[in-house]
Amino acid sequence: MLDLIWLIPALPLLGFVLIFLFGRILGEPKAGILATLMVGGSFAVSVGVFFELLSKNTEERRHIFTAFSWVPIGSLKVDLAFLADPLSITMALFVTGIGSLIHLYAIGYMHGDPKFSKFFLYLNLFVFSMLMLVLGENLLVTFLGWEGVGTCSYFLISFWHTRESAATAGKKAFVTNRVGDWGVMMAMFLAFGATGTLSYGGINHAAESGALSAVTATAIALMLFIGACGKSAQLPLYIWLPDAMEGPTPVSALIHAATMVTAGVFLMTRVNPVLAVAYGWAPTIIAIVGVSTALFAATIAVTQTDIKKVLAYSTVSQLGFMFLAVGSGAYVAAIFHMVTHAFFKALLFLGSGSVIHGMHHEQDMRKMGALRILMPVTAMTFIIGWLAIAGVPPFAGFWSKDEILLFAFAKSPILYVVGMITALLTAYYMTRQVIMVFFGEARWNDHSEEHGAHGDFKPHESPKIMLAPLVVLAGLSVVGGVMQLPFSSKTHFLEKWLEPVIEFGEADIHKTWAYENKYLLLGVAVIVALTGIALSVLVYSKKKIAAIEPDIMAQGWFYDRAISNFMGGPGRKAFEGVAWADSTIVDGAVNGVGKVVQQSGGFLRKSQNGSVRSYAAAVGLGVVALLLWFFVRGVML
């Protein structure tokens, strides 16, 4: 069974090839069903591999399957190989599991789109790339997936490419990610130089055995983190993710919430021994960047009016929490939160897609309200997702966020406090969203004219094929926390499962004040979450307090605009300067030399009227004559 691990990425690849060849013949909905089945098949294989690993002893839960030698030259030997271990299979399970749900949902969501089969073509290619990323045995296979998901993300963000904003957003995502990829490449070069290999086994072994110096380990870790900042939308490279909402909503759920954006967290966890032997300030930087991003994005989310933009900034913020965990040495908590976040954020995005679908492509929350009556299933599941992300026990998000904050406290109380403020804001803005969309007065009637519905416009509930995934994800968002409950070491299922991968890097907090008072912290977390919700209810439902939504926050602290202004202003000027210098100075010098020679020597005097032509002909004829002469001689000899 373990040797069948290659089937996990191969099935979506097969789906891609089949839809590429027969997509137009298959059409709607067969292309979608085929794509869903392929991802479902991957999920089935992942489950099989999971149980096979589970049946082994802890230390034997590691298996490498080598498909073929990929790039062998000199001392570089890179195989196209897959690694089955607790971390990779955890990733594969939730990528294929949530992936197949979202595929199913998309069959309903993309109904009637003229490029229906092409959508599933890209979607299967994406799942294939994502699985290469998580299952790769070495950095290069992961990088193949890493760039692959980036490329698919580009295709899917600009899926409706006739829209200028969608095309621009896709390009922005790709180029920003490439900045991060530069870091990943540097990390690979450093790792190869220091260890002679790119395989995770080799690099991590070098770190664990002390062969990797702290300087090199720090450099590798920080370079990988630059890559992670790009892919996982952290400061200062987060700018592409909010714009990525131009893509169809299933894409936002799958790529820009549940799977691809967590790749950075996965990568840092994968090389946790390297991070462990790096200088202490390296993980601290990661924790600071993470918690700053979390807070920064949360303040923006508070003021957004586009239903998807709120969720986008929320995703950036939650990813910040995961990096806070990575920086605090809480790898189990990072993966835990990654999985629970995948459940509830995919749920929230799909829910928002259902709302957008029901509202005839309206995304402005100011034109919604009171939708719970017309869209009961969507509302119910969305509310579960809201409770999960807001940190209300016993929903999944509560447990995972709490675990991160526990480790953060052990690292530094400052990180904990900032994290708690962010948690408060999270509960606040998510409550705001739920109230604006599902409660209060119905504001969509006023705008029905805009939709061309002429008075008879009425939001409607989505078809069953879209609601079924919502229900499943809602169920997972309720019970997801059981993976890792804080009560005793017996309920730390995820920790025990991931132990062989993370034991070297995981921080030990058992002796800290935070750990000994963990129930107190648990209580604080509940109070903070409820406070956030209560505040939001007072502001947006009871209208007792005026909403604080300053423009500077709505505009994302002008960060994105500053960058675009720089790129469009001085950046562009500099580029134009180079192009000007090339044609005027570099080429000008060449033409200048030509002129000087022409005027002084007369060598080129006739070059304008065809003498070069005859010269060229003479050279040609002469050479041909020489060659002929040679052949005659050669034959005679």
């Binding site: 600009s158 990829d181 290999t197 080799g202 580029f575």
Partner: protein, 525 residues
């Protein structure tokens, strides 16, 4: 060490296949010229058949090539001007192998895929003469013979640009011709001096590359002068910054077929020459000057990419992207590690395939719209999705997305250079970001958006065009997914050159620290 000079080993075939690779297109060229003006289809058939035959011979040679062998194979050597020690010495090794095969594949595709629109007979004759010249350049193991072919190449290219190019063709062709001629003048002096100086060590005069490499010992300063005489000619041909400005003009003004060949194989004469005649003949000088070349290469990568971003003409944009890509190859060549040099050799092929295909596609756009201006084009993906998809695959290869060929070469160059020239790589790798920027921005402006009136009737990819592009796309995917067969054949010859560098200079590039095999065994279980 032994194998360095035991040159005529390896695979052989019952007839001189390499000589045939040069002669078939040459004879084809003459036959084309001699064919009747009134039967253009026969002319075309002759041209096509001789190029297809050449390509088939190239593939046959590839199939018979002895993979593990480092030195020249299928070699044949005949005296020519014996009083001057000039001979017909041809041979192929891992460095020239794929360049020869690519030449063989590229020309028939150009003949089928690009329409000259007028005076087809002379056009085809020039194309075939060009093929003979390129083949000869890659196969020659005699300095004088190499120079002859290197010069032959200029002539048909000059007439192709001047006769079948666009508005500014005379200016571009003249610039191309004079620029390259000036470079070649240096090389001619270098070649003659090399032979004369080598006489002291060899006891007789010889232009034979193998003999000179084997027997001659140049004083350090002499070697440097000679190296630079060669290097200038090749640097112009590559083209290396700041000698690159003939390229955008030549590319933009050349007919599509000319551009495809120029990007596909002609530029590689420069990088190939730097490796074969520069580094191999004068290792000490190459090592001594490596920082100059590394720096110019890195400047070229960034400069070319930045200049490409701001181009208004799609063809000119692709031309500037070539400056950047060729910079990577030069970077790898002067890294002196087998990963980087081997990656550079592979990148010569990759760039030929992907940029060749890009020029074909840009040519197809021009055939339809009679403009290459990016601002005149819009929304083509909506009206021609298959055409857009083909463009996308080729573009992603050029950007260097893993899984496609462009990535493997670039990655090997960078990872191999990192150990010997770390800070150059740190800068060079940003070229990868810029590549995404200029190509995606161009793609967005040309293919995305709602097509306006002029672009809404843009014709979808035709069957013939699709069939011409298919081999390119096949190679792009195959070499990206499974580069091993190629690397296996390139590596021994690259190692041979590096061994020679070590032998002559004592320089050995710092290898990565190889850890104990322990973890390797652990993974087996």
């Amino acid at each position: 060490m032994i194998s360095i000079f035991a040159s005529e080993t390896g695979a052989t075939l019952p007839f001189p296949i390499l000589t045939a690779l040069i002669l078939v297109p040459l004879v084809g060229s003459l036959l084309t010229l001699a064919s009747s003006q009134r039967r253009p289809e026969i002319t075309k058939l002759i041209a096509l058949l001789s190029s297809v035959l050449t390509g088939a011979l190239g593939l046959w040679m590839l199939a018979s090539f002895d993979t593990g062998e480092a030195s020249y194979q299928f070699a044949s050597k005949h005296q020519w001007i014996s009083s001057w020690g000039i001979g017909w010495h041809v041979g192929v090794d891992g460095i020239s192998l794929f360049l020869v095969v690519l030449t063989g594949i590229l020309f028939p595709l150009v003949i089928v895929g690009c329409d000259p629109h007028h005076d087809e007979k002379r056009y085809l004759a020039w194309i075939l003469l060009l093929e003979a010249g390129v083949m000869g350049s890659f196969l020659s193991l005699d300095l004088f013979l190499f120079f002859l072919f290197f010069e032959i190449v200029l002539v048909p290219m000059y007439f192709l640009i001047g006769g079948w190019g666009y508005d500014q063709r005379i200016y571009a062709a003249t610039k191309f011709f004079l620029y390259t001629m000036v470079g070649s003048a240096f090389m001619l002096v270098g070649i003659v001096t090399t032979a004369l100086l080598a006489k002291k060590d060899l006891g007789h005069i010889s232009f034979d590359l193998v003999e000179i490499a084997q027997g001659a010992n140049f004083a350090a300063s002499t070697g440097r002068w000679l190296f630079f005489a060669f290097a200038i000619a090749f640097a112009v041909k590559v083209p290396l910054f700041p000698l690159h400005t003939w390229l955008p003009d030549a590319h933009t003004q050349a007919p599509t077929g000319g551009s495809v060949i120029l990007a596909g194989v002609l530029l590689k004469l420069g990088t190939y020459g730097l490796l074969r005649f520069g580094v191999y003949l004068f290792p000490e000088a190459a090592l001594w000057s490596r920082e100059i070349f590394l720096t110019l290469a890195v400047i070229g990568i960034i400069w070319g990419a930045v200049a490409a971003t701001m181009q208004k003409d799609l063809k000119r944009l692709v031309a500037y992207s070539s400056v950047a890509h060729l910079g990577f190859i030069v970077l790898g060549t002067f890294a002196f590690t087998s990963e980087a040099v081997g990656g550079g050799v592979m990148q010569m092929i990759n760039h030929g395939v992907s940029t060749g295909a890009l020029f074909l596609l840009v040519g197809m756009i021009y055939e339809r719209r009679h403009t290459r201006l990016i601002s005149e084009l819009k929304g083509l993906q909506k009206v021609a999705p298959i055409f857009a998809a083909a463009f996308m695959v080729v573009m992603l290869s050029s950007i260097g997305v893993p899984g496609l060929n462009g990535f493997v070469g670039e990655f090997l160059i960078l990872i191999g250079t990192f150990n010997t020239a770390r800070w150059w790589v740190v800068v060079a790798a940003t070229g990868v970001i810029l590549a995404a920027l200029y190509l995606l921005w161009a793609y967005q402006r040309v293919f995305h958006g709602e097509p306006d009136e002029a672009n809404s009737s843009f014709q979808e990819l035709r069957l013939r065009e699709g069939l011409v592009l298919l081999p390119f796309i096949g190679l792009i995917i195959f070499c990206g997914v499974y580069p091993k067969p190629m690397l296996d054949r390139i590596e021994p010859s690259v190692k041979l050159i590096l061994e020679r560098v070590e032998e002559k200079t004592g320089y050995l590039a710092p290898a990565p620290v190889l850890l104990e095999e322990e973890h390797g065994q652990e993974e087996e279980g």
